[in-house]
């Protein structure tokens, strides 16, 4: 019974050990560190929106330009290929026309 009372008493004292406590004080340099970090963060955020938008627009234009060049190059290549094929066919027909036919 006595030991149980002692146990209860000890547990209650531990649970009550935060009574009357004061708030922890911050290191004076903490505020300086925070101010420094906030200034750094502020510097990054000071880039105007228009600058960021311009960068996006330029990036999109570059991508469009590259795609246009690639597409027109491909179209030209296809055209040249078609022309070469046509010339080849015409040449073949000419060759066949010149051949002498022998009727045995």
């Amino acid at each position: 019974m006595d030991s149980r009372n002692n146990k209860e008493k000890w547990v209650n004292e531990v649970l009550a050990s935060t009574e009357g406590m004061k708030k922890a004080e911050a290191n004076p340099f903490l505020y300086e560190k925070i101010r420094y970090r906030m200034q750094q963060k502020g510097a990054v955020q000071d880039i105007p929106a228009i600058v960021l938008l311009s960068k996006w627009i330029i990036a999109c234009l570059v991508i469009l330009a590259i795609n246009s060049i690639a597409i027109t190059t491909e179209i030209r290549r296809e055209k040249d290929k078609a022309l070469m094929q046509k010339d080849a066919n015409v040449g073949m027909l000419g060759e066949l026309g010149n051949q002498t036919t022998y009727n045995y």
């Binding site: 649970l15 406590m21 925070i34 963060k41």
Partner: protein, 164 residues
Amino acid sequence: MLNTAISFVQNHEWAEDIAQEVFIEIYQSIEKFNEQSSLGTWIYRVTVNKCLDGIRAQKRQKRFAFVTSLFHKDTGELIYDSSNFEHPGILAERKEKSKYLFKVIEGLPGNQKTAFILSQIEDLSQKEIAEILNISTKAVESLIQRAKASLRLKLENIYEGRRK
């Protein structure tokens, strides 16, 4: 804010890091603050979330670290040793007993820990805690009761262990 963080992470240096993070987040997000709650409630909420995130991250690191040093490589001191944590605000005559309290608080689940710390250490009302945690006051009351019951049981075990 610092006081809350110290109670959660049980390390002054780490708590100062968290306080810095909280200040920065408040500074960056102040425009998004929609005044649905008070500024103090919002600051507490951010602080509690940062503390719990930090504790979870530390537990994950411990889980996946196969070989890790327990000591600072420069000073040789234990890294984040909370087993003998003394809260700087505790009265001198109660420091020894408070070490046991903080040791068992560390083992509480996140929501009970939060409710207990905000109630017993930060001295907030149940209504204020409910606003911070975005739950009902009944839920806060239940969390605090469960936290106290759990702490009592752990402390009893510690007492028995000390006697042997």
